[in-house]
Subunit: 304 residues, 2 copies
């Protein structure tokens, strides 16, 4: 079962269990197309009929008839455009908004009934998962950089372990190492000298992580960039650059004079990124780590 079959499979399960996709609106006397149209009318400014039709993939003729019905029922006002009187910019009236609320309640009831067997916790889990799907389906928005919340460290560990196991064949000792690094970071809790960032999509999916950590009490002027990871689907979007800038900026402000980082030769895209940001390769040595032969690299740059 590949990715596309999984999606097909979901579509079937979903329409089966939540048949409301096509019917729930009958309770309020509106057809699905009418409901979708009414929903799309709910904007700040005026809308053009053609835009609506194209946005929903509806026939223009059908759209025209449905809109006529809305106007008859007083749900929309059709103005006349001063500059171009072919257009009839549409506005939802108060009555239209009220109808939209009726619709919303009907659809909520239908969903609540259809998901009743899941229980409250199951519903919450479903909502969380579907919200992530919505987030993926939306046109990509610039990610947010934020500090760590409960559970983030665990997720950073999980994603490091899963991706490095898949792409590099690392064994579980790598997951142990990452867990140790993060456990120590959280325990020190030195918020003035150390910081972690999570990149997240507007919908809350974790897209990556980066950490600035102190090298240690014996080298107070040296910071280390660690646990820099970006999810595959967020690579090549300029996010990496933003994250590294946040990290360098913090390290500089915190008074460090130098930053180190450790990576592997095989991460070539990462290497180019470090080079572009003023890092230089200062050491390189073959090593056996996490069940694999790798070539360790140490990069370094001075901070302003």
């Amino acid at each position: 079962m590949d990715d596309i079959d999984l999606i097909r499979n979901f579509s079937r399960t979903y329409t089966h269990r939540l048949g409301l996709l096509s019917k729930s609106y009958l309770g309020s006397g509106l057809a699905l197309s009418e409901a979708r149209l009414l929903h799309d009318l709910d904007r700040a400014g005026p809308v053009k009929a053609r835009e609506l039709a194209q946005g929903l993939g509806l026939d223009e003729g059908q759209t025209s008839r449905i809109l006529a019905g809305f106007a008859r029922r007083g749900w929309i006002r059709r103005a006349r455009d001063e500059a171009d009187s072919r257009q009839r910019p549409l506005h939802l009236t108060e009555a239209g908004r009220a109808q939209l609320e009726v619709l919303r309640l009907a659809s909520r009831t239908a969903i609540a009934e259809a998901t009743a067997p899941l229980g409250a916790a199951g519903l919450a889990a479903l909502a969380r998962v579907l919200d992530q799907a919505s987030d993926l389906l939306r046109p990509p928005q610039p990610p947010l950089l934020r500090g760590l919340l409960p559970g983030d460290a665990g997720q950073v560990i999980a994603r490091h372990a899963a991706l490095y196991a898949r792409d590099e064949g690392y064994d579980q000792s790598f997951e142990a190492l990452v867990a140790e690094i993060l456990a120590a970071f959280l325990t020190r809790n030195d918020t003035t000298r150390e910081r972690g960032w999570i990149a997240q999509s507007p919908g809350g999916r974790m897209l990556g992580s980066i950490f600035c950590m102190a090298e240690g009490p014996e080298a107070p002027q040296i910071a280390r960039l660690r646990l820099f990871l970006i999810e595959p689907e967020a690579r090549g979007t300029g996010l990496a650059q933003r994250m590294i800038e946040a990290c360098l900026g913090f390290a500089t402000a915190a008074g460090y004079r130098q930053m180190l980082l450790w990576t592997h030769e095989s991460h070539q895209a990462a290497g180019r990124l470090y080079a572009r940001n003023g890092f230089a390769l200062v050491a390189s040595s073959p090593a056996r780590a996490f069940g694999r032969e790798v070539i360790d690299q140490t990069w370094q740059r001075d901070l302003p």
Copy 2:
């Protein structure tokens, strides 16, 4: 935005971006209902028309007409039931299966086109997320207990941290502690004396965890049950009992004579579970931990 609004929101986004729910089948000349019906006909044994109609929420009359069309095109055979000649048990023919494959390819192409803007990694992420949703929507299947895979330890940490922060207000020192415990467990990698189990749904969602760990070299006969957590939506299903049995069974087989565990007074359901499984409360003391006042409990039982 509550759970139900998130689901509503997903429905809209999904139908908008993957409008194929209603149309893609036109490429193959079949209406949505026809496609769904054909799909549901694909079973080992014979099917009754009424079952199909009810399963899909279709009108029986409509179903009858569509099935007549299928028979005309040679996609199904309508037998006559020996015992009850009112029924006409349905079988998909080879031609019917071929048509189903045509449909499958058309729908795959449509999904591939609609998801093209996501890229391969985005598609994989979407498929992973929607597969979890399918899993939640399916009637619950008995969970699986399995060993740890890469990323599991991280997820165990994340879920402990997130749930205890939400329900008990624990701060990040708790996440650090869990990460430390797991890092040490993975590093020891003592597979004969220690083991962790992940409970997962058939679709792969993590539903819980439990670990049997050695108390330490100074007490070789004592095992400790740790990191026992069950996701809210999987509570009250008997899963906890299965997990504790797996853990006790392993500890006994590994030669331990006694098992300890540590919990808090506020976890009353857990306390009852431990009592039912032969544990006795041996110590109880107020403590300040993870930013909260709690009452620590130690439970203990002998192993056979």
